[in-house]
């Protein structure tokens, strides 16, 4: 079947089998490998993208369902060489380690901050509960999103936490 959609502000058209998942379309057909696959039960969120502005697990949507949709993947976040504040937050607050969950986590955070510009820690944790991370323990991801939220509101982000005293025994 023929599908047409806008991906990262660019119009694309392709012929796909109905069974092709959106995540495979993005990765295999368009070469946008920033969107990852971490499971097949729609649990891990590594494949999160924005579909018409809503965070969506691209492994749980068919490419044909995205016909006519506007898709934003991690590759489309930075514009004119300028990182998105969420990307910057993840970098500044050590919100990633192996980087595999990161694109999905970042997209979820972008979606969350669209709906709630000043989330509490509980709201952030609740907002990213569809994205699994095996490395960080989430603590610094929360700090990264707080950093981005502050930046997006035009405020100074809180300082990093790792500047505390070490005890020399």
């Amino acid at each position: 079947m023929q599908v047409s959609m806008t991906v990262n502000r660019r119009a694309v058209t392709a012929d796909v089998e109905p069974r092709m998942l959106l995540v495979h379309f993005l990765r295999e057909e368009l070469g946008l490998t920033g969107t990852h696959i971490g499971c097949e039960t729609s649990y891990c969120g590594a494949c999160t993208v924005l579909v018409d502005g809503r965070t969506t697990k691209s492994c749980t949507m068919l490419a044909v369902q995205a016909d006519g949709a506007e898709i934003l993947t991690v590759e489309g976040l930075a514009q004119d060489g300028q990182l998105h504040p969420v990307q910057e937050g993840f970098w500044e607050r050590h919100g990633l380690q192996c980087g595999y969950c990161t694109p999905g986590m970042i997209m979820s955070a972008v979606g969350l901050l669209q709906e709630n510009a000043n989330p509490t820690e509980d709201e952030i944790r609740h907002g990213i509960e569809g994205n699994l991370c095996r490395c960080t323990g989430y603590h610094n991801i929360v700090r990264a999103i707080e950093y981005a939220a502050a930046k997006m509101r035009g405020e100074e982000p809180p300082p990093p936490e790792w500047e505390h005293e070490e005890v020399i025994a």
């Binding site: 891990c44 991690v74 323990g137 005890v167």
Partner: protein, 790 residues
């Protein structure tokens, strides 16, 4: 004594002690990492594996005709075909053998039976479901106890003369001295507990992309590998390929945690398929495949005993283990230690005698026994002693902190020889525990606990004061499959003063590209941003054993420091030449040599340029060296974790309401990265204590084959952590650093479990033990006074 550590270098140079942003993150936050599944080669084919649906059965026949006739299918590979090339079996990392594709029997659910290669991954999966295997089902053995019963069916009948299911027997320590100490004990405390089967399940599953050039026979194998060099050697030995024709490339790795240490059948089959078909063949596991077939961890049934005096001193320890090895004995561990480093189970405590016995059994479960964010079974060891110590304090009516303080190895006893033969390099356990108690307000929580919870819940406070053993080797004692455990670093300073550092280890998220650049920055004063760190490609990095068991900083980091110092020595000669001064008159400050007492000096960058353009007579050009570092000893990081929980007696649920973690990993190179490692580990410890395990039904079906059943914590449940640090440098590491990647996974599980038990005990429920995961129904059962299964 409290002091703040001040870095010696400026923030721009970014040497040791600077919490600089990670260099690798730029690509990851933009989706520009390059993981295995992102790699596409021209003409690439896709492979899917046909797996056994049953746990134990004899293969009567395999019908591949329907699969072969599917449009788009290029080949169907069976064990028989591999057997013709003598590749149906391969060695494991523990000297056992493992089936690549089953020829005789299947021995666990999910075992590899055949593989389909097709032009498209969808078609490969379609055709895999058309491979029909006829099995004669055999009774499944699902526990090691069952496996060792007389008359149990022999799982490994492929091994000639094998008449039982014993995988190994091992012991350590001094039985006589231990027995004598127990004879003198006032009190003996015992504990039987199962450290359940778990799986590292990194978010990226395992995979391979094999590209064998049909003309030259050169094989480039992209592999999700924590140990690419060791894997190349093993590939050469298994497949009989000349080693110079094998290039392993370990691209960006989406987490490893031990899961990517072994060689898996899929890797071998993809390589054989590429060799036979002359095209690149990609195989990437699904999550289910990852969970049911690749390296599990733990699964130790442990019995422990402590001999005590009535005033609260430990005299001796006994431990015996029955391990569930699955169908093939495949622990990733040094070959002389059959139960890994479990014999470090005397932990942080000073007593005279210990004796450990271990036995492993084959069962109809997936093989593995990998060191899941753990240094070869030290996690199980630490768990056993920390649970035993807690039970001892409870039985003696002592506060668990006070009991620990009384029995800790004292600072002046280091280096300390443990009763099972480890030599702990350095430590100050009392200070770490005191700091953790301050950080969490231990006394405050005890008061609240005594006052009672406002809503009728139960407060509990749990402690774990662990000692880890990481950074293998030395190479005399430690090896993997016979390859000695040193590691390497190769450093070249380019003429413009920028550098490239190549290592034998392989990062999977630990931040090597930053940390190791910072070591070079510290030693040579070259800004860390000017140091490119390269790992993972066996053609372009020096030989090393890889990254696991928290060994990268202890071994690869030491190699980096040593090679940088060697380069500084050579640089000094060049500087003397440039400054027309004697080497003896030169002094070093980060990034610059200068003539003592003058402002005359040259920067390292100027020296680097001269190394290629104006070297002194008699000195080779260039500024480059390599170091193979063989550590004199392991490093022994330690720490104290205190967890406060709130238990709901109505449904047995519990939640962490406070937690303090004080870690001592010696000198911290990048404090930000160190804390990130610790928080990740605390979360994995929580996962295992709270929810994450793999179990099996009586037929050997895996319960926990996907993320709906294998529970991995989200941001919501994960506790919020307070971190503290003490710094006791390693006396033998060139930088005083110890490993840290695994401390928190090793140390924390006991703290969570101790906290829940403390809540129950202080509410009047005399509960000896709850096995992990401490599931709500188990807590509820303990409160009701009934043992609740499963």
């Amino acid at each position: 004594m409290t002091t703040t550590v001040h870095p010696k270098t400026s923030p721009e140079v970014g040497g040791i002690g600077h919490a600089v942003r990670r260099k690798e993150d730029d690509r990851f936050i933009q989706g520009a990492g390059r993981y295995l599944d992102d790699i596409v080669l021209p003409g690439m084919l896709h492979m899917a594996i046909v797996r056994s649906p049953i746990a134990h059965g004899r293969i009567r026949s395999i019908d591949t005709s329907a699969a072969e006739q599917t449009e788009g299918v290029v080949a169907v590979i069976t064990g028989q075909m591999l057997a013709e090339h003598n590749l149906a079996w391969m060695p494991t990392l523990s000297g056992d053998t493992q089936a690549v594709l089953a020829t005789d029997k299947v021995r666990y659910q999910g075992q590899e039976v055949a593989a389909v290669v097709a032009t498209d991954p969808y078609i490969a999966r379609d055709a895999a479901s058309l491979v029909f295997v006829d099995y004669e089902e055999l009774p499944a053995i699902t526990s090691p106890q069952q496996a060792l019963e007389p008359g149990a069916p022999v799982i490994r009948d492929d091994k000639e003369g094998k008449t039982d299911n014993v995988a190994y027997i091992w012991e350590a320590g001094d039985k006589e001295a231990t027995d004598a100490a127990f004879a003198k004990a006032d009190v003996v405390v015992t504990l039987d507990t199962h450290y359940p089967r778990s799986h590292p399940s990194p978010l990226e599953t395992c995979g391979a992309l094999a590209d064998v050039n049909p003309a030259t026979g050169e094989a480039t194998i992209y592999l999700t590998s924590q140990a690419p060099h060791a894997h190349r050697t093993l590939f050469a030995l298994v497949a009989g390929l000349p080693e110079e024709n094998i290039r392993i490339v370990s691209p960006d790795i989406g987490g490893g945690f031990g899961n990517k240490v072994p060689i898996y059948p899929g890797y071998v089959v993809a390589t054989v398929a590429s060799l036979l078909l002359g095209k690149p063949v990609k195989w990437v596991e699904t999550r289910t495949e990852n969970l049911i077939s690749t390296g599990f961890a733990r699964d130790y049934h442990m019995h422990g005993e402590l001999a005590l005096t009535s005033d609260g001193r430990i005299l001796a320890m006994r431990a015996s283990i029955l391990s569930d090895q699955g169908a093939f004995y495949a622990d990733a561990q040094p070959s002389r230690f059959r139960a890994g480093l479990f014999h470090i189970c005397t932990g942080s405590y000073d007593f005279g005698a210990a004796h450990v016995t271990a036995k492993g059994a084959y069962t109809n479960k997936a093989p593995g026994g990998v060191a899941y964010r753990c240094s070869f079974r030290v996690t199980e060891a630490s768990y056993l002693i920390e649970r035993l110590v807690d039970n001892a304090a409870w039985k003696l009516g002592m506060d668990p902190a006070e009991f620990r303080m009384k029995n800790f190895i004292r600072p002046e006893q280091f280096p300390y020889r443990s009763p099972t033969g480890f030599v702990y390099d350095s430590g100050d356990y009392h200070t770490a525990l005191r700091e953790a108690m301050k950080l969490v307000d231990y006394e405050g929580w005890r008061r609240k606990q005594a006052e009672g919870h406002p809503e009728g819940k139960l407060y509990g406070v749990g402690i774990a004061s662990f000692t880890e053993v990481v950074g293998a080797g030395n190479s005399k004692e430690y090896d993997i499959a016979g390859i000695k455990m040193f590691d390497s670093a190769e450093l070249r300073i380019h003429p413009t003063g920028k550098a490239i550092l190549k290592l034998g280890v392989r990062t999977q998220g630990q931040g090597h590209e930053t940390t190791f650049a910072q070591i070079v920055a510290e030693e040579l004063g070259i800004p860390y941003t000017d140091v490119k760190v390269q790992e993972g490609d066996t053609d372009n990095t020096p030989y090393g054993l890889g990254t696991y068991a928290s060994r990268s900083t202890p071994v690869g980091g030491a190699a980096t420091a040593v090679v940088a110092r060697r380069i500084r020595e050579k640089a000094k000669k060049i500087a003397a030449h440039l400054l027309e001064a004697s080497e003896d008159d030169l002094e070093w400050e980060p990034g610059r040599f200068f003539v003592r007492g003058t402002d005359k000096g040259v920067t390292i960058q100027e020296v680097a340029f001269a190394a290629y353009t104006n070297p002194p007579e008699g000195l080779e050009a260039g500024l480059e060296d390599v170091c193979y570092y063989d550590p004199p000893n392991m490093t022994y990081p330690f720490g104290s974790y205190i967890v406060v929980v709130e238990v709901d007696p109505g449904d047995g649920t519990w939640k962490v309401v406070d937690m303090a973690a004080v870690d001592d990993c010696g000198v911290r190179i990048n404090p930000m990265i160190v804390e990130g490692q610790i928080m990740g580990g605390l979360t994995e410890g929580f996962a295992k204590a709270n929810m994450q395990w793999i179990t099996f039904d009586e037929q050997g079906n895996c319960i926990g084959s996907n993320f709906l059943d294998y529970l991995v914590p989200t941001a919501w449940e994960t506790p919020r952590f307070k971190l503290g640090a003490t710094v006791t440098p390693s006396p033998h590491h060139p930088l005083g650093a110890k490993g840290v990647g695994e401390s928190a996974t090793v140390g924390s599980p006991a703290a969570y479990v101790n906290a829940v038990l403390d809540a129950l005990r202080r509410a009047g429920h005399p509960v000896e033990n709850i096995d992990m995961p401490v599931l709500p129904h188990r807590v509820w059962g303990a409160i009701q006074g009934v043992a609740v299964k499963p």
